[in-house]
C-alpha cells in the first residue's frame, strides 16, 4: 500500500494550549476544521516542519482520551484511495472503525480499529480534490466576504459554513452560551459575510430572548423596511460585546408606531429612525422646498415623542440618493435636483436635531462603500428595503457605532506599535534616522498615518505606545528624527520592553486608570494582534492590512472614536494625563499621605447645576461607570424636571490643584424624599471622576451636599449603593463616610442614612472656593 505519513495528532484540553505549544516550538498554525462526528476542532500546522494536528475535543469520544488529559493521539497515513486501502486491510483481517469515510473538509478519514495495532492509533486519510459536497457549493457571483482577510491572521480560521454548523451543534447539546460566544468571536474578527452577519443577528436575537440577558432595548422605525438592518444591528452590537434587542415597527408607519410605543408602557432605551426618500424625491417640480419643510416637520414630531414621551435616546439616520436620476449628474446637484434636495434636508435635520442625538450620515456611509454595492434595486422593489445585504450590514455598523458613542462613549486610548506601524523598518536595526517616514512611497504612508493619529489625539483620544524594543531605541526616532510628525509628548503612556504586550497594556490601563474596554490596539504584526485578542478580550483589536497606505482607512473603519460632541476638556486630555503623571511622581516623594494631600493645594468650586452645565451633566450620567453609586442614566428632560422642583439639589464640583485644572469632576443630584417623617434628602445620583479619588474630594462633595441640604432645612440624608459589574469601587463609600446602613439586598443594593441636624463635616484637604 502506497502510504506516506500525513500528520501526527495531539489532543489538547483547550485552545490556549495550542498557542502555547505552537509558540514554544515555532509552529505556524494553518487550516482549521470542525469535525462534527468527533465534536472536535482540529487545527493543522503549516510550514516546513511537517504537519501536526492539534485536536481540541469539546465532547464525544476524543475528550475522554487519556482520562481527559489529552496527549499524543494518532499518526495518519495518506493513501490515494481510502476504499481500496480499506479493502486491502480487511483482506489482512484488519477492520477500519467507521463504515464509510468521515468527511473532514479537504480530507476523508477513517481509523484502524485500535485493537489491531496494539495501542497505536492509526488514521487513514485520503486528500479530496473537490470541495466538500455536503452543502450548497459557492456559486460564481457570490458576494465577497466582508473585509476579506487581509490581515494575515487567518491562522485557525473556520469557514463561515463551519461556524454556523458548529453553532448549531453546540445549541443542539444545550450549550447556548458557547454558541453565542462563538458567533461573537466570528463577528468581532469580521469573519462573516453580510449574509452571515444577518444570520448571526437572528441567532443572537433568539439567544437574548431565551436567556433573558439584560439588553439594550432598541426600537427601529423607518420609511422603508427595516428588518434586515435591525437584525444586523443586533449582530453588530454582539460583536462589540453588547447585548441589544431590536424591535421593528410596521413599514412606513413611524408616527403611529411611536405613539403606540409611547402609550404601551414598554420601556425602550433608544429609538433609531430611518428615512427613505420616496416622498422627498416624488415632489412635483417647484415643490421641493415645501417637501423638505414637510419632511423636517415630520421628523421633529417624531423626535418630540421619542425624547419627551418615551424618554429614550435617539439615533437619526439621514436621507440618501441612489443615483442622479433623469436629470443626470450635473443637474442633480443643482436647485431641485435629487442630490441637492437630499443634502438640503440632511442639513436641516442636522441643525434641528436634539443635542444628545446621533446623526448617521447615510450619504457618507453609502459613499464609502459605493452606492452600487450599498443599494439593491431588486430588493427594494420586492421588499421595500433599498439596501443590499452588504449595505444593510454596513448601515447597522454605523448605527451601532452611534449607539455606542451615546452610551459608553468613544474609545479613549489608542495603543500603537512602533516598527512598521508608525514608521517603516525596525529601529533597532536601522537606527533612528533610518526608519521610513516621508520621502519614500512607504514613508509617505507612515507619515500620513502619524498625522491622522496626531489629529485623533488633539480631539481627546489618548495615544500610547506598546513596542517590543529596547526603551532607548524606541525613543530615539522621536528625539532625533525630524521627519516624524509625532513627539514623545504626544503619548500618555510609552511602554518599550520585551515583555508580552498584554502585560504592558494592562500596566498602562492601571496607570491611566481606564478600563481595558476603552482601549484600541493597532499593530502590524498578526501574532501580536492574536496575542492581545486572546489575552485581553476587552481590548478592540484593529484588523490591520498589509499595506501601510491602507492603515488610516483600517483604523477609521472601526469607528472607534465617534462622538456626539467634543468639549474643551476632551482637547486638553493628553495634557491632563501628563499632569497626572507629574502629580503621582510628587506623591512618591512625600513622607505622609496627609502632608502630600496638603501640598496639593486643592480648591473645589461647588455650583448649582445650571443650563450651561446640563448637557455635560447628562453626558457624565451616561458615561460614568466606576464611581457611580446608583448608575441612573437620566436623559436631559428627566434631569431638568428633577431640578425644577424647588426642594431639589443639584451640585457640580470642579477641582483644581497645584498641577492641573481637572474641570468638572463630580455631580450630585438630590430630591426630597416624599412622605418622610423628618425633612429628608434622597441622593439620586452621585458620580465622580476616577482621576480624583482617594484625595478627600469624596469628603468635600459630601460636606458640600450636606451644607446645601441643611440650608434648605433638611435634617436627614438618604443614600443608595446599587451594585453593578463596574462600580465595586464605591461599594463601601457611604460606610466610610459615616452613614448608617438602613437596609441591604443583594440585587437592589444598600440604603444608608445620615442625620444632619448636627453639623459634623468630614475632614478634607480640599478648600472651598469662596
Amino acid at each position: 500500500m502506497n502510504g506516506t505519513l500525513h500528520h501526527v495528532s495531539i489532543i489538547v484540553p483547550d485552545e490556549d494550549r495550542v498557542h502555547e505549544l505552537a509558540g514554544l516550538f515555532g509552529l505556524e498554525l494553518g487550516r482549521r476544521q470542525y469535525v462534527e462526528e468527533y465534536e472536535a476542532d482540529c487545527i493543522f500546522t503549516t510550514g516546513s516542519c511537517g504537519v501536526i494536528e492539534f485536536i481540541i475535543a469539546t465532547g464525544g469520544k476524543l475528550a475522554k482520551f487519556n482520562k481527559g488529559m489529552g496527549g499524543l493521539h494518532h499518526i495518519a497515513i495518506a493513501v490515494p484511495d481510502l476504499d481500496q486501502a480499506r479493502r486491502e486491510l480487511s483482506e489482512k483481517g484488519i477492520p477500519l472503525l467507521e463504515t464509510k469515510p468521515v468527511d473532514a473538509g479537504p480530507i476523508q478519514i477513517n481509523f484502524v480499529a485500535p485493537a489491531y495495532t496494539r495501542g497505536v492509533i492509526v488514521e487513514y486519510v485520503q486528500p479530496v480534490e473537490a470541495p466538500s459536497t455536503r452543502a450548497a457549493s459557492a456559486p460564481p457571483d457570490a458576494e465577497p466576504t466582508r473585509a476579506a482577510a487581509t490581515d494575515g491572521s487567518d491562522a485557525g480560521r473556520l469557514s463561515e459554513q463551519d461556524i454556523f454548523r458548529k453553532a448549531r451543534s453546540l445549541r443542539k447539546v444545550g450549550s447556548m452560551q458557547a454558541a453565542a460566544d462563538l458567533l461573537r468571536d466570528a463577528l468581532r474578527r469580521h469573519w462573516l459575510s453580510a449574509e452571515g452577519i444577518e444570520k448571526a443577528g437572528r441567532h443572537i436575537a433568539g439567544y437574548l430572548d431565551d436567556s433573558g440577558t439584560p439588553s439594550l432595548e432598541v426600537l427601529v422605525l423607518g420609511q422603508c423596511t427595516t428588518n434586515w438592518v435591525s437584525t444586523c444591528l443586533t449582530a453588530a452590537a454582539w460583536g462589540g460585546a453588547a447585548a441589544l434587542r431590536a424591535s421593528d415597527g410596521q413599514y412606513d408607519n413611524v408616527i403611529q408606531e411611536l405613539m403606540a410605543a409611547a402609550s404601551s408602557g414598554r420601556r425602550y432605551d433608544l429609538v433609531v429612525l430611518l428615512p427613505w426618500h420616496q416622498r422627498l424625491l416624488g415632489a412635483a417640480p417647484g415643490l421641493g422646498q415645501v417637501r423638505i419643510d414637510e419632511e423636517v416637520a415630520f421628523w421633529q414630531q417624531a423626535w418630540q415623542i421619542v425624547t419627551a414621551q418615551m424618554s429614550a435616546r435617539l439615533v437619526q439616520v439621514g436621507y440618501d440618493w441612489v443615483s442622479p436620476g433623469p436629470l443626470g449628474h450635473h443637474l442633480a446637484g443643482k436647485a431641485e435636483g435629487p442630490v441637492q434636495l437630499v443634502r438640503q434636508v440632511n442639513d436641516r435635520l442636522r441643525a434641528a436635531l436634539p443635542p444628545s442625538a446621533y446623526f448617521v450620515d447615510l450619504e457618507q456611509a453609502s459613499g464609502i462603500m459605493g452606492r452600487e454595492r450599498f443599494y439593491d434595486a431588486r430588493r427594494y422593489h420586492w421588499t421595500k428595503q433599498p439596501f443590499s445585504e452588504a449595505g444593510a450590514a454596513c448601515l447597522a455598523d454605523h448605527i451601532w457605532s452611534g449607539i455606542r458613542s451615546t452610551t459608553t462613549g468613544p474609545k479613549k486610548v489608542l495603543v500603537l506599535d512602533l516598527d512598521n506601524t508608525l514608521w517603516g523598518g525596525v529601529v533597532g536595526e536601522t537606527g533612528p534616522l533610518g526608519v521610513e517616514v516621508g520621502d519614500t512611497a512607504a514613508g509617505e504612508a507612515f507619515r500620513a498615518f502619524q498625522l491622522h493619529v496626531k489629529e485623533l489625539a488633539s480631539r481627546g483620544c489618548l495615544l500610547a505606545v506598546s513596542s517590543k524594543n529596547n526603551p532607548e531605541d524606541a525613543r530615539e526616532p522621536f528625539e532625533k528624527n525630524p521627519a516624524l510628525a509625532l513627539a514623545l509628548g504626544d503619548f500618555a503612556a510609552f511602554e518599550a520592553s520585551w515583555e508580552p504586550k498584554s502585560v504592558a497594556i494592562q500596566r498602562m490601563a492601571k496607570t491611566l486608570q481606564l478600563g481595558l474596554d476603552s482601549f484600541v490596539f493597532f499593530d502590524d504584526n498578526p501574532a501580536e494582534r492574536e496575542h492581545v485578542r486572546q489575552m485581553l478580550p476587552d481590548v478592540a483589536v484593529v484588523e490591520v492590512p498589509e499595506e501601510p497606505a491602507h492603515y488610516v482607512r483600517a483604523l477609521e473603519a472601526g469607528q472607534w472614536f465617534e462622538a456626539v460632541s467634543i468639549t474643551e476638556e476632551d482637547r486638553a486630555r493628553t495634557e491632563q494625563y501628563r499632569a497626572e503623571a507629574q502629580r503621582r511622581d510628587a506623591q512618591n516623594s512625600f513622607a505622609s499621605m496627609e502632608d502630600y494631600l496638603a501640598s496639593l493645594d486643592m480648591v473645589g468650586d461647588v455650583r448649582d447645576v445650571d443650563d450651561a452645565d446640563l448637557a455635560r451633566v447628562v453626558q457624565l450620567l451616561g458615561k460614568t461607570n466606576q464611581f457611580n453609586l446608583t448608575t441612573r442614566r437620566h436623559g436631559l428632560d428627566t434631569v431638568r424636571d428633577m431640578l425644577a422642583q424647588p426642594r431639589s439639589i443639584g451640585l457640580t464640583v470642579r477641582i483644581t490643584d497645584r498641577f492641573a485644572d481637572y474641570g468638572l469632576v463630580a455631580v450630585l443630584l438630590g430630591v426630597e424624599e416624599v412622605g418622610a417623617s423628618v425633612p429628608t434628602l434622597h441622593v439620586d445620583t452621585w458620580l465622580m471622576s476616577c482621576r480624583v479619588i482617594a484625595r478627600t474630594v469624596e469628603e468635600f462633595c459630601l460636606n458640600s451636599l450636606v451644607a446645601a441640604a441643611a440650608a434648605k432645612g433638611y435634617r436627614r440624608v438618604i443614600g443608595h449603593y446599587v451594585p453593578t459589574r463596574k462600580n465595586a469601587l464605591v461599594a463601601d463609600l457611604y460606610d466610610r463616610l459615616g452613614f448608617q446602613r438602613v437596609a441591604s439586598d443583594a440585587d437592589a443594593g444598600t440604603t444608608y442614612a445620615m442625620d444632619i441636624s448636627e453639623p459634623a463635616p468630614s475632614k478634607t484637604f480640599v478648600a472651598r472656593r469662596a
Binding site: A135, P139, D141, K172, W228, R378, H381, W382, T383
Partner: protein, 88 residues
Amino acid sequence: MNRDDVQDKLLAVFRDVFEDDELQISPQTTADDVEGWDSLMHVSLMINVERAFGVKFSSTQVASLKNVNELIDLVVSRLAIKGAEGRA
C-alpha cells in the same frame, strides 16, 4: 442536473437558511409548513437558492411560487436556460 439532484441541493439550502439540520422538504411543502418562512424569509431563501444554483429569478416568478414542486420546476427551467446560453 435532474429533479432529484435539484431537490437534494434545495434541501441543503433550506437547512442552511432556516438553520435546521433536521428539516425535511417534499414537493408538496408550502410556506405554511416551515416555521419562520414568512415573506421576508422567502426573499432571503430565493436569493440563497439563486446563489446556490448560479441562476437568477424574476420578481414575478418568485412571487407566484406555491410550493416546493414549483420551485424545483423554476430551478430546472432556469438551469436549462443557463445551459442553453452556455452552448450558444
